[in-house]
Every structure is written in C-alpha cells, then in structure tokens.
C-alpha cells in the first residue's frame, strides 16, 4: 500500500506525461503481479464492489474526529472529495499497518454483507494505522471514483514500456470483462493467446474533430465520407456462435439489446462489426432521446422494444473469418463489410452506413448542412487507406460536426465543483424568460477557462441570495451563451424541454439579463429540431 500511495502522490505532483509514465513504470517494477494487476484494474475503472456505504464512513469519521456531522458535511462541500475530507479530519494514526494493496482490497471486499459494527471496527482500525496519503487511497478503494489524473491510455503506455510490448497489444489485452478475481496477471498480459476470451472486443478507433477546412485534406477521392449517426458507438462480436455487444465505454451491453440476439445465428463465426447502436424505425433514425429512455433500465420490456427499437448502423469490419483485419485498408474492409451484410440476411438488424458520393468538398459541406434533417450530427471523413487504430489518433479519421444550437441564458443557481474544481463554483443552472419570470431549463459545467471560472466564482460569492444545501441561488445577472446538440420534449423539467450536451460557449459580458432568450424561443427550436 505504501508503494501505491506513493505512486498516487507522485502522479498528483506532476502534470507532465513523461513523469507520470515514469512513476507508473517504477511502481510496476516494485510490486508483485497481484498488486500490479489490482493497480491496473483500479486505473482502468475496474474497482472492487462497494461494501461500505459512504454515509456510514461520514458518520464514523465525524465521530472519531469529534466534529458534529453537519460540520463534517459542510467541510466535505468545501473540500469536494469525501475520501480526502475523511483523511483530513481524522486524528493522527496511533500505529502502523503494513499490508499490500491486494491485502487491503481483500479486507475491503470481505466487508460485503457484514454487520455494521464489524465494518466499523475494520475501517476504523485501518484508519488508525495509515498515514494521510494511505488513508486517502484506502478511502478511495471503498468510495470508488479514483480520478488520479492518469488516463487509461497512460497506464497502458507505462505497462507497455514495463513489459516491452507494443502499446496497441496491451490495449487489446486490457479490453473486456476481466477483473483481478477472474484472471492472473500472466494470463492477461503475458499469455501467448490473448484471444482466448471470445468476448474480447477491439479498442475503438476514435476520430478527432476536423479543425481545418476539408480542402486541407487533399482530394476527396482518397476519403470515405459518411454521416455521423447519433446513437451509441458499439461493437458487435460473433464468435463460436456467441454474440457480444460492447459499448464504447467498454461495457458489455449484450443483454440490453435483444434485437441483436438473432445475429449470433445469422452472422458467420469470427465476425466483428464496428457501428452505431441507433434507434431506428420505418427506415428512419429516431432521436437520441428515444435511446436514452432505454439506457439505464434494468429490464428491457416489450413496450420499450416497441417504442425505442434499435438497429446496428454498420461502419466497419474488424474481424473477418476469425482474422483480425484492422491493418487492412479501410477501402477493402468496407468491401468485406458490404459482402457480409449482403450475403447474410440480417432482416434489417444490420444497416450499412451509407457512403456519400462526394466529388468535391463543396458537396460534403452541403451534406453537412442538411445533417439535422437526417437526425445526424455531421459527417465522418475517413481516409480510404487507413488502418483501424486504437484510441483517439490524429490524421486518418475526422469528425466534421455541425455547429451546435445556441441560446442566451441567465445563470440562477451555482454549485461548487469537485476534485480539481473544488472550491470553485463551476456547476451552473440556467434559465430563460417566461414573461417576467425566469424558468430554469438546463445545467452546464464546461466550456469556460479556469480564469473565467475564477472570475465568476468571485462574482458569485458576492451575489449569493439563498442557500439550499450546496446549491446557491445568485442574483440573476450573468448571461451565457449555451450551446447544445439536440433539444427534446421533457415532462421532467419545468421548462418542458431537455437539451443534449449543453455547455457554455461564451460568457456574454456584453449582455444584460433582460436580453437573454425566452421560453418561447426554446419552444420554437423544439418544434424545428425536436
């Protein structure tokens, strides 16, 4: 645990990628296979199951530090991180525990379904024997949300360096459903045959936003242009007569999309298709909002299947006849994809993403401009000779999204952020005018610079009207231009609308609150694009 806490401190003390990777490599070399595997799991968001409720931890920490619970809670609002708040308020340790990361994790796991008194004893005893940094890490093991400023990508890079393997090989080996309980380090990283796990997906290739004109890409003949569909990016795998559906968030979602289940029999073994899980009816895509009603539901009912049916909008073929064809050029992969879809009647479950016929970039611009009519988010521009790479890489694949819709709104509530943004008011609620009343319609957290957040925070502190727990109502004066990707009817919101991907485009310091938009304006947008 000392080693892991030290790693954590080191990662926290630098913003430099090289140093972070070096700290990780150093850590990987110092610990045994089991600790290394757990560290990898934690850094790729595979945490042990939560066995202690955070409300109990708050209560115990407040008791031990002789502080009323409300004061502990208020402190937590200031600090913005529960694990940290607990580590800060606890009295100094009275002893020193020496255990490995794996041992601590096993301790935490063993608390599952135990009596509260027993849990308290184990946790308090742990706190008593750990230093500040170790306590913080230990608390994080329980509470989860390990945001350490290390992306999974950096961890993979460090591991590749440590193992002397290629980064993309490591990335592939780390995909899928493993946990340190189901696999050993050797099996996961060093075994000869990483494809033993038939469910294992390929790392998704992600595009960068086009930050130049398409003309800068050269001749359109070298590119494949498609619509960018607004669903959930997914990978459909058929191996040994089994079907697996993965979402981009590396979540196995096979059960959530029964529509795809017949594909296990329809598609040949050894087929992996990259595509979009897209709500679709009568030959037309539906709004993303429709899909949203399905996500997060435990049971996919018949009703949901009828109201929010999905198809797979197929973009690419990654595995053909059991062979990884990611290094085959896109143009050829596309032909194989077309062949598979043609030769196997998927009964409309798989739809080929249409390749647009673009002779000149001007035509692409026109297609992009009518994206909203097709309920698409813009265009994808992919180099015909490109390989299917791992992760977000520049150069071969670009997304050329449409400009967002915007509206000017008044900030009426603010709340402090957490983590890096603790102590800063970064989470705002916005309203538009309905007569002379302000109606809240969205929240937004992103889009401003740290400098702007600092300035606005200072303003908020002086303009607070009321407190509701951590939320502050502020004088309705500041105007922001809110950008969003979609607008839908909502019965859950007072305003009657729900926005997709709302964020702050600019702080309109040139506008007064009275000049913000109205609910009427929002409703017009809803009519046009909802």
């Amino acid at each position: 645990m000392k080693n892991f806490a030290h790693l954590f401190t080191q990662l926290d003390q630098t913003t430099k990628t090289l140093k972070k990777v070096a700290a990780l490599v150093d850590y990987f070399g110092k610990v045994d296979d089991r600790d290394r595997l757990w560290a990898m799991a934690i850094l790729s968001h595979r945490r042990p199951k939560r066995t202690v409720k955070t409300s109990l931890m708050r209560q115990w920490a407040a008791e031990l530090s002789n502080v009323p619970l409300w004061l502990f809670e208020d402190s937590y609002h200031v600090v913005g991180d529960l694990a940290e708040t607990i580590a800060l308020v606890l009295p100094p340790p009275t002893q020193q525990h020496i255990k490995t990361l794996t041992e601590w994790i096993n301790d935490v796991k063993s608390l599952d379904k135990k009596e509260e008194e027993y849990k308290r004893e184990v946790v308090v005893n742990a706190w008593n024997g750990l230093t500040y940094n170790e306590r913080f890490v230990f608390n994080k093991l329980i509470t989860g949300s390990f945001r350490v400023g290390v992306s999974q990508k950096l961890m993979m890079r460090a591991l590749a360096q440590f193992e002397g393997q290629e980064e993309k090989t490591i990335a592939h080996r780390l995909m899928g459903n493993w946990t340190p309980d189901t696999i050993t380090y050797d099996e996961l990283i060093r075994s000869e045959n990483p494809l033993d796990d038939i469910s294992r997906p390929y790392p998704f290739y992600l595009a960068y936003a086009l930050d130049n004109t398409p003309e800068s890409l050269g001749s359109p003949n070298e590119w494949q242009v498609e619509r960018k569909w607004d669903g959930i990016r997914g990978q459909v795998i058929v191996r040994q007569n089994n079907l697996f559906v993965w979402s981009r968030g590396e979540e196995l979602v096979t059960d959530k999309f029964p529509e795809y289940h017949p594909l296990a029999d329809i598609l040949p073994d050894g087929t992996v298709i990259d595509g979009e899980i897209l709500p679709f009816q009568n030959g037309q895509p539906l709004s993303f909002n429709v899909l949203q009603t399905r996500i997060g539901r435990k049971n996919v009912t018949k009703k949901i299947l009828e109201s929010a049916p999905v198809i797979l909008m197929a973009y690419d073929l990654l595995e053909y006849e059991g062979k990884d064809i990611r290094t085959t050029p896109l143009g050829e992969r596309r032909k194989l994809l077309e062949k598979i879809v043609k030769e196997n009647d998927t009964k409309g479950i798989v739809v080929l993403s249409k390749v647009l016929d673009i002779e000149e970039w001007g035509e692409a611009a026109k297609e992009r401009a009518n994206s909203r009519q097709h309920l698409s988010e813009g265009l994808m521009i992919k180099k015909l000779n490109s390989e299917y790479r791992a992760g977000r890489k520049r150069g071969d694949w670009w997304k050329w999204k449409i400009d967002p819709m915007t509206i000017d709104a008044v900030m009426i509530y603010a709340q402090q952020g957490s983590g890096r943004r603790a102590n800063l008011y970064t989470d705002y609620t916005f309203a538009v005018w309905d007569g002379d009343a302000l109606v809240p319609f969205t929240k937004a957290y992103s889009g401003l610079t740290d400098k702007e957040f600092n300035k606005i925070t200072a303003w908020i502190r002086k303009n607070i009207r009321e407190k509701f727990g951590p939320v502050r109502s502020v004088n309705p004066e500041l105007v922001f231009e809110i950008a969003f990707e979609g607008i839908n009817k909502s019965s859950r919101h007072k305003s009657g609308v729900a926005l997709r991907f709302p964020r702050m485009l600019r702080w309109r310091t040139d506008k007064k609150a009275e000049e913000a938009n109205t609910l009427e304006d929002l409703k017009k947008m809803l009519e046009l694009y909802g």
Binding site: V78, R465, E477, E514, N517, E520, D521
Partner: protein
Amino acid sequence: MKSSLANQNAHLVVSPKITKPSTARYMKKSTSSDLLQFTPKGIWCEQADIYIDPWKPVKKAMITHGHADHSRFGNDHYLATASAAPVIKYRLGDINIQTVDYGEKTNINGVQFSFHPAGHILGSAQIRVEYKGEVWVASGDYKLEDDGFAEPFELVKCNAFITESTFGLPVYDWRPQAEVFADINAWWRKNSEDGKVTFITGYSLGKAQRILDNLDTSIGKIYTHGAVENINEVIRGQGIKLPDTIRVTKEIPVKDYVGHLILAPPSALNSAWMKKFKPISIGIASGWMTLRGARRRKAVERGFVLSDHVDWKDLNKVITATEAEKIIVTHGYTSIYTKYLREQGIDAYAAETEFTGESIDADDSKEAKDADNKERETPNVKNKK
C-alpha cells in the same frame, strides 16, 4: 435568430425577490452599547471615535498590520506598532502615522487602547480596547505557532473577542513549520541536484520573509521578485536580519538561476516573467495547499501547507483561552464557524467586514502586480549563450 428575439425582452425588468441567506440568523447587529461596532466604514469605537482597520477613509485609524485588506489608503491619522509602521508607510506613501510599542497604553476619551502581538507577521497586533472595565479585542489576523520571525502571539483575556475564521474548518490542521521547511529545503536540494530552478511563491509581506528565514542557504543562492525584495529592504532597514537575497534583474543571465531558488508573490505564477526560468520546479506555500483540488488547479509540482493564520485546533484553543463571553466571527468560514461555536454554547455572532484573509491567487497588495510590469526585473534571455 436569438439576438433579434432577445431584444424584444429588453423592456423586461428583473424584479428579484431578495431573501436573506440563512447565515443572517447569526448576523451581529451592532448596538450603540457595544464598545466596538461594525459599521459600513469599519470596526468603530464610538466613545473614542477610532476605527480599527477601516475599509473606508476615516479620521483616526488603528491598524493591526500592513496587509492591504487591513491597511488602506485615505485615513487622516494612522496608529500602528513600531515594527509594522515602516511597511505600512512604504506601501501607503505619505501618511500621517504614529507608532506604539506592544503593551503601551493609549488613552482616548476614557478608552484605553493597547497593541499585543498577533503572531501573524512582523509587527502584527491584536488591539485591546478597554472602557469602564469592559475589554474587547480585535485580533486582525493571527496564528499561534511561533514562527521565529513575527513577534509570538500573546493571549489577551477579554469579554468580547473578534476573530478571523480564514481556516475555520476541521480539515485545516497545520504541521509544525520545522517539518514543512524540511520538505521545502529537501525539494530545493533535489531540484538543485537535477539542475533546475526552484520557484516558490508566498505573499510578499510576511510569508516571504518567514520562508527566507527558514531556507537552508547552504543549498544555493536566493533570488527575489521585486515585490518581495522591496519589502525585504524595508524590513532590513528596521535593523532586522534576513538572509542575503539577490533581486532578479534583466542583467542576470537566465542560466545563472539554475540550482538556486526564486521567491516570488503568488501573482507571479504563470506570468511571462516566470516563464523565462527554465528548467523550473514550482511550489506554492499557502494554507490552501491543504486541498488537493486547489493543488491540482494550480498545476504546480508542490504545494506546501504553510499559513500565517490559525488552523482549526488553534482557533478553538484561542477562543476558549480568551475566556470571552462573546465571540464575533469575521472573514473566512464565518457562518459555519459561528454556528459551530453557538452549538458549543458560546455566544457567537457573524459580522460582515471587507477583510479577505489569505488569497490563493493574488498577492496581499497590488504592488506585486505593478512590480511584474516593471521591465527592469525581467530576466535577460538574450544573454543566454
């Protein structure tokens, strides 16, 4: 579409329903019977017609210490301790200032005033006010730990105690400064070995000298930002010894800084001035460095938890030890701390002031910013060979 539509609403007038924040419950409404009253100009002693650390210009001001939120321009008469006065004069220019020694008694219209060490920075004072046997203390900013540089805090028993609450939450718990400085010196030594410039920030009056006083000068030379060095000069002029420092100037080639340390105010962080020092390792010394979020937002390599304000345990220690029947809480976590005290059965109130406590971004004065703009302090990049 939006701007044209939006304009139609220009006639609408916002009619906000003002509801007072819940903290108003504990708000102190000064009554004329109070020895010290909170007024729009500052903390006022009516009987003597004297203000303590006023934020609006008044005739007679008593100043607890030279930080800009306590010592402001525009008063007719100033009174401060002898060791605080030189800096106050330096910062405010041509002012009419008289000095007192700690413990010295001044009588004005039957009210007895005396200044007592607050341990915050050199010359800082709590001001004791006594009238007809009733004693009030306005403590300004203070800390308990003897930092070896500021005159150590003196406990003054009183009936009413006015306290800051800058770090008035149980998450703030300072380590002894010896441990913090051991960390700072070890960090400097490592940077020096790695061929780096060590860059540390702390506000230019107080924190900077406290750091200076505790640096291990065997590691290397200490360079200073103009804002820090100006204060150093004033303090040296008082006959107080500080380690040798070199003002950063453009005549000094940038490579000369390698292995050594630069002491600068927080406002110099990420300035063009700072970016010329390479390779660099940056640290911040501030009480706010307790919080991981603040450390990460600043994106510096090291955050050293070092403050000239009381932490939670010392704050409570002082409150109890003053034996005051009434506590008035000013700048900081005012409402939270007041609520806590009241739960402990203490007659506590919150009061509005324009004190700011320790800022994480700005220096305590605007001077640091001005100094940044002065060309003469820009290190010379062209001299690089």
